[in-house]
């Protein structure tokens, strides 16, 4: 913590016009999957998108100079670094000062970045940054044990950003800065409450303006790091995994610090006046936290948010202050008096970790266990269905879904002494399911849950027009299990089995059971 404050203080002493005549490049990588032995991350891709948005909106990175890669492979990352390096080299040849930022959110383990089934050694990434043809190279890693990247042969992490010393130089900043979200033996943690990893969330909040302790409308590398360090350590201190300590390697020469974001291009945003005090959380329309402001009385603070509608909340004792704000070109002042006081139960961020939606299409069959029931009454049926599922809405790894299915077929009814009667039958089903996902590996998920369905069956006898059409409908409770194999970012193959109970009471009362088997393809929405 002291180190972070030292960084912050050092940054306050320095203010440089960093963005002038500069050309900035950014590679932003977010990958939820780390291959064997890892569990899918929930917010890595969202973290990457947030950082991409901030860097291109406030970080001076032009859209054509930015690369956002999700669900990446190591080869794609290597190619992107080479690609951006070539652009940086070309810019340097034209006399531009160049900055290359590489941000990564994903798995890291045993000294490697885990990119799906591929790996990229941290040493390789560090060397790639070390050798990249840009004046300033910044690596921001939000992954477990990512602090290992700061352990470089011949290079020792500096105790703090030695900005004062650097300021004595006559040249602009040049060199390498590596910031990792956790030390080499720590896990980097995600938070369902904020819907992001702790480190990226606070780094993003800082870059949006809360780290601007100098109040000059610019967030420097030192300010951002100091802010993210303090908030990450503070907020993870009470978690089950324990405090998470970001680390850095600073090998930056030349004058002054690097400005990461400049708030002035964004004319709108939220302004927290000097009198405001407390932790304000800003949520987007999906109730996901986009920024936090840890406000102390006496300073005005501005968050340079993109235009849009937001909810600002502040917890105060046993109640909540809530307010809807619309951000456009003009700053919007947030004062407690303009927020409405609500009970804590109205917290809009509950469940804001974000439900994930998916659509599953299935084809399969239905089979009643009782042989007599299969005789024309409930014959084996082919079924096609679709299900809309919501995950992590009711709780972590909990999912619920609504499904409909249609099916039918032809069958033969056999009655004693009667010529077999051909029949055609139709079946409609609609159900609601609740289940829990168990992640077996990066790509394999086992699910177990319960389902309540409405079942409608109808049949007719084409060769016996004298016989009336018949139908039956009821509610059937049951259990279901599924095995899901994720084979791409959005697509998964699903094998599902259900066992249901059905009470039949037309020809006497019978307790029947049936099974449904289905194979399907699941498409994840809104990633």
């Amino acid at each position: 913590m002291n180190r972070a404050r030292a960084l912050c203080a050092a940054a306050l002493l320095t203010a440089l016009p960093a963005l002038a005549s500069e050309r900035r490049f950014a590679l932003v990588v977010g990958d939820s999957h780390g291959g064997a032995g890892t569990r899918p991350l929930r917010y890595a891709e969202r973290d990457a998108r947030r950082m991409y948005g901030i860097l291109t909106r406030l970080g001076g990175v032009r859209a054509e100079d930015a690369r956002l890669i999700t669900d990446a492979t190591a080869e794609q990352v290597r190619d992107a670094i080479v690609d951006l390096g070539a652009l940086a080299a070309a810019a340097r040849s034209h006399g531009d000062e160049t900055v290359l930022v590489v941000y990564y959110s994903g798995h890291a383990k045993d000294g490697d970045l885990r990119l799906g089934q591929t790996r990229m050694p941290l040493t390789e990434l560090r060397e790639a940054l070390q050798n990249a043809p840009a004046d300033v190279r910044i690596g921001l890693l939000d992954s477990c044990q990512s602090g290992a990247i700061t352990r470089a042969k011949g290079i020792r992490p500096a105790p703090a950003f030695d900005v004062q010393k650097a300021a004595q130089s006559s040249t602009r900043p040049h060199g390498l800065v590596l910031i990792a979200s956790s030390s080499a033996d720590e896990e980097s943690q995600e938070s369902d409450d904020i819907g992001a990893s702790f480190f990226t969330h606070y780094l993003a909040s800082g870059l949006l303006g809360d780290a601007d302790t100098s109040g000059d409308g610019k967030v420097t590398l030192a300010e951002a790091y100091a802010y993210a360090y303090a908030r990450t350590v503070g907020e993870t201190a009470e978690t089950r995994a324990g405090a998470q300590h970001p680390v850095y390697l600073y090998d930056l020469g030349g004058a002054g610090d690097v400005v990461l974001t400049e708030l002035s291009p964004a004319r709108g945003g939220l302004v927290f006046p000097a009198a405001a005090e407390g932790v304000y959380v800003v949520l987007d329309g999906s109730r996901r936290a986009v920024a936090e402001v840890a406000k102390v009385r006496g300073d005005q603070r501005r968050l340079a948010l993109a235009p849009g509608n937001y909810v600002v909340k502040k917890r105060e004792g046993d109640s909540l202050l809530l307010g809807d704000v619309s951000v456009s070109d003009a700053p919007v002042e947030i004062a407690d008096a303009r927020l409405s006081r609500r009970p804590l139960s109205d917290d809009p961020q509950k469940g804001a970790s974000g439900p994930r939606f998916s659509v599953l299409g299935t084809g399969g069959g239905q089979f009643f266990f009782d042989a007599a029931a299969r005789n024309g009454l409930f014959p084996p049926a082919a079924l096609a269905g679709v299900e809309l599922a919501t995950r992590d809405d009711l709780g972590h790894q909990l999912a619920w879904g609504l499904d409909v299915a249609v099916g039918g077929g032809a069958a033969t009814l056999t009655l004693p002494g009667v010529t077999p009667i051909e029949e055609r039958f139709l079946e409609l089903g609609a159900g609601a399911s609740l289940w829990r996902d168990f992640y077996m590996s990066d790509s394999l998920t086992f699910s177990l849950g319960a389902r309540l369905a409405f079942l409608y069956l109808a049949r007719n006898f084409q060769n016996h027009p004298e016989l009336p059409n018949q139908n039956f409908f009821t509610l059937t409770p049951g259990a279901q299990t599924a095995l899901t194999w994720r084979f791409s970012n959005r697509w998964s193959a699903v094998a599902r089995a259900r066992v249901n109970y059905l009470f039949y009471n037309v020809d006497g009362s019978q307790n029947l059971g049936y099974a449904e088997f289905a194979l399907g393809v699941d498409y994840a929405l809104g990633l």
């Binding site: 004693p416 009667i421 509610l475």
Partner: protein, 302 residues
Amino acid sequence: MRSVCSTLLLLACACGNLSNEDVAFLVAIPQKQQLHVQLPAQPAAQNACAIGPADIYASARTTGDSINAGVDAILALVDSILGVTPTSRDVDSRTWGPFPDSQHPGVQVQVVMTRELDASGTPWRFVYTISAARPPGAFIPLLEGEFFGAQARSGIGRVTLHFESSRQLGIAKPTDPAQPARIYYDLSSDPHTVSLDLTSNSGFGLVGFDYAFAGYADGHGRFDYAFPDPKSGCLLEVTTNFTARGAGRDVFRALCGAVVLGDVQQCWDVGGCLTFVDDPFALTAQCNGLKPCLLGTSTACP
């Protein structure tokens, strides 16, 4: 709110008429077309006939149509419950109603069908009763059926329509017979036989007679019927045998008051033209009153 509750209750129940046993009951009930008199198709156009058209055989078709209409009228009552879900189900019985007779205000109708199973569990006998009442009067049978065999298409049965009951309840039509009419059928072997017993009655446009039809699988058959001859004023009782293609022969006699004249033989070809006439009484129009009348040759008979 009430509709929401009703919908929820409906969803929560196990409802419907999906029943194999209902099917087992219903397939035992004979269908109209199964009990129809089915004569060979009529020739598309009447050719010029050497002797003349077979008028007696032509009357078989109109009589058959009247019988079919009578059968339809009787079985329409049976059909009325086919599309209705039973009101109550027991292992070996089904009951529909009582429910109001939509065509006769104040009349309640009830249908009960029972069955008996043999040792193997196969139905061998069904009893079908349609009763009606004008409350507070008691139910009296309008129709009784007894069907043997698990399915009508290969079964034997008897259906009795109690016109005396419908007259008692005041729901009879003016053309209905006054006494019971009975249908007997045997679809268990070749030929399929159907008879309409109107011996003590007249009705459905038919004179009192025991009408009988036998149809073979290959299309040939026999039809016994009677009809009033408008020319002679006599009642003709006819026994007709026909081939699948429509040629045939008949023997008829004429009941003219107390006098019985017979037998007269006629044969005809597939075009409906007489090929042979042996009519000692010149009842055949082509005899022009000459007795005895012998036209054509008997070798032309099928």
